[in-house]
Point group: C2
């Protein structure tokens, strides 16, 4: 029987080792456009490593996961950050691991609200997109993957995630 | 009486001189993540001009415009692209102008669907965010504006936009 992983709320502090949380943080608000727009400024930074590579916009359309969900694999992208911002008004799951000597440790699972996105740091272990409930679109900003920019690790014993309370 | 501007549908072709349309273009789809995700790849490119400036994620929370709306000003950012992706499931208006000897020409107004974003090219004249109907959030990727990166132009005679049919 595989171990069940706890589902944690996604916060800036808890997620700090792995990347940035993209959300309308009141402390970062400034009024612009003659007061018609609140700008929540510098919520994260897309980063690309290694010239002459470029950053690109993409949309990921994810199938919802079925539960209990088996976490068998983690991946990372050495040469650039990768951000996910939900466009369909649905929460989603975020899975990350600390690096333990070149392989991912036990995953941490976060429940991201529909108004929260994440930006994984370059080389942070993470699980592929986990949409919830319905097919969901995400705006993704990442490195145009012309050279190899993907490392995968398969767990000997998968972990499990029980259906989250939404 | 100021001239009313036509509202055009936002398409890749009509918008090409000013920037990129970010939408799930079927011709750019590839299956990833074991077939659980459709990736609409390379829908645009965030660009920053002039090292050591950086790109940042922001959320813009726009007040809805009232109609008839008066278009009195256009702006541009010489040193980087600026993208707007709607997060609130609402259409919005996009205003752009050709450059005519260093000043914006008569604006073109596009109606962007709730599933379309735009990425203005560096130095493309555009109107500030025009949300419709309700307060709306947008993910914005642009250059961190530590040096001057804003040029504004005020029309002698403003233009008008009538309330769009949604």
């Amino acid at each position: 029987m595989s171990e069940f992983l706890e589902i944690l709320p996604l916060t800036k502090t808890s997620f700090a080792p792995y990347g940035e949380v993209i959300e309308a943080d009141p402390s970062k608000m400034r009024l612009i456009n003659n007061g018609t727009t609140e700008r929540f400024h510098a919520l994260g930074q897309p980063v690309v490593v290694g010239a002459p590579e470029r950053l690109i916009f993409n949309i990921f359309r994810g199938q919802p996961r079925q539960f209990p969900y088996s976490v068998g694999m983690m991946e990372r992208h050495p040469f650039g950050s990768q951000s996910f911002m939900p466009l369909s008004g649905k929460p989603f799951l975020v899975g990350v691991s600390d690096d333990e000597g070149g392989r991912p440790g036990k995953p941490k699972i976060f429940l991201a609200r529909a108004d929260q996105g994440v930006n994984y740091f370059a080389n942070a272990w993470h699980h592929p997109l986990m949409a919830l409930g319905a097919v969901s679109d995400f705006l993704v900003v990442d490195r145009d993957n012309t050279a190899a920019n993907l490392e995968e690790f398969f767990f000997e014993t998968p972990y499990s995630i029980a259906e989250p309370d939404l």
